[in-house]
Symmetry: C2
Subunit: 136 residues, 2 copies
DNA sequence: GTAATTCCTCTAGTGGCTAGAGGTTCAAGG
DNA sequence: CCTTGAACCTCTAGCCACTAGAGGAATTAC
C-alpha cells in the first residue's frame, strides 16, 4: 500500500493536487489508516499516472474524468476515447492558429524602428488596433 | 463625457470588465455624477482602447499596466515598451512550440487503429506516458 | 523519549474576468 | 408629472486547476 507522499514521489503529482483530485471525485484512496492517513494500492498508482499523463496532454479535468470512467470497458468506450482525443486535437489546432496570428502581429510590432526622435511607434502599435495588418 | 455603457459600446470591453479594471487600479473614470455614475472623457476612451488592444495581444494585465504608465514619456519608455513586446513575443513562441508538440502526440494517438478486438489502444496511449514517442 | 518529517483539514489565493442579487438613477414616453 | 424600462450602482461568488499556508495530529528515525 502507498501513502499519499509515496504516490506523489512516484508520479510527480503534488500532494495537494492528489487531495484536490479526491475532493472533486476524480481519484480516491482505497482507504485510510487508523491515524486517518490515505492509502492507495497499485491500481491507484496506475490510475494516477493515467490522470497525470492525460492532464499533461492538456485534456481538461472533465475529459480526464470521462476517460477514467471508460477504463476496462467495451468498444463503445474505445470510440468514446477516440472522440475525446480528436476533439481535443482540434481544440489545440485552433489555439495554435490563434497564437501564430498573435506571433506575427507581435513580431511586426517588435521590429518597428523608432529611434528617430518621433513618438514611440512600438507603444502606439501595441495600443492601436487600427494599425494591425490583419485580424487577431 | 461618456458613461460606462458608452465606453463599453465604443470599445467592446464589457461593463463589468471596465469596473474590474477600475478595481485593480488600471483604469479610472475622471469623476462621478451626483447620482454616483462614472463618467469618462475622450482620453479615457483612448486609454481603454489601448488596454483592450494590448489584452487582445495576450499581454498580461501587469504588462498592460506598465505600458499604460509609459504613455507620453521619453525614449526610456520606448525601450521599455520594446522590451515588453519582445519578451511577450518570446513567451508566445515557447507556447506555440509546446502546443505543437502536444498536437503531434495527440495526432499520433488519434490515428491509432484499434478495431481488432484487443484492448483500446487510444485509451492506453492517452494514459501511458511510456508510449510517448517524444517528450511533451 | 524526542525531534523531524509526513500526514491531516480548512481557508483563501492565483489571473482575468463573469454572473447574479438587490437596489438606485436616469431617460423616454404617455 | 408620472410610470416604466433601461442603465447604473455595489457586493459576493463563481469559473478552472491548482497552490499556499495555518494549525494540529500521526508517523518515523535516532
Amino acid at each position: 500500500m502507498y501513502s499519499i507522499g509515496d504516490l506523489s514521489r512516484r508520479t510527480g503529482v503534488k500532494v495537494p493536487t492528489i487531495r484536490y483530485y479526491e475532493n472533486i471525485g476524480l481519484f480516491a484512496p482505497v482507504g485510510r489508516t487508523r491515524g486517518n492517513q490515505r492509502r492507495y494500492d497499485l491500481d491507484g498508482l496506475r490510475r494516477l499516472k493515467f490522470i497525470r499523463h492525460a492532464r499533461e496532454l492538456g485534456l481538461p479535468i472533465e475529459a480526464v474524468r470521462a476517460l477514467v470512467a471508460l477504463d476496462g470497458h467495451t468498444d463503445v468506450s474505445c470510440d468514446r476515447a477516440h472522440d475525446i482525443a480528436k476533439a481535443h486535437l482540434a481544440d489545440i489546432r485552433v489555439r495554435i492558429s490563434q497564437l501564430q496570428r498573435l506571433e506575427a502581429e507581435l513580431a511586426r510590432i517588435s521590429a518597428l524602428d523608432d529611434h528617430d526622435g518621433g513618438p514611440c511607434m512600438v507603444l502606439e502599435a501595441l495600443g492601436d488596433h487600427e494599425t494591425c495588418t490583419r485580424p487577431h
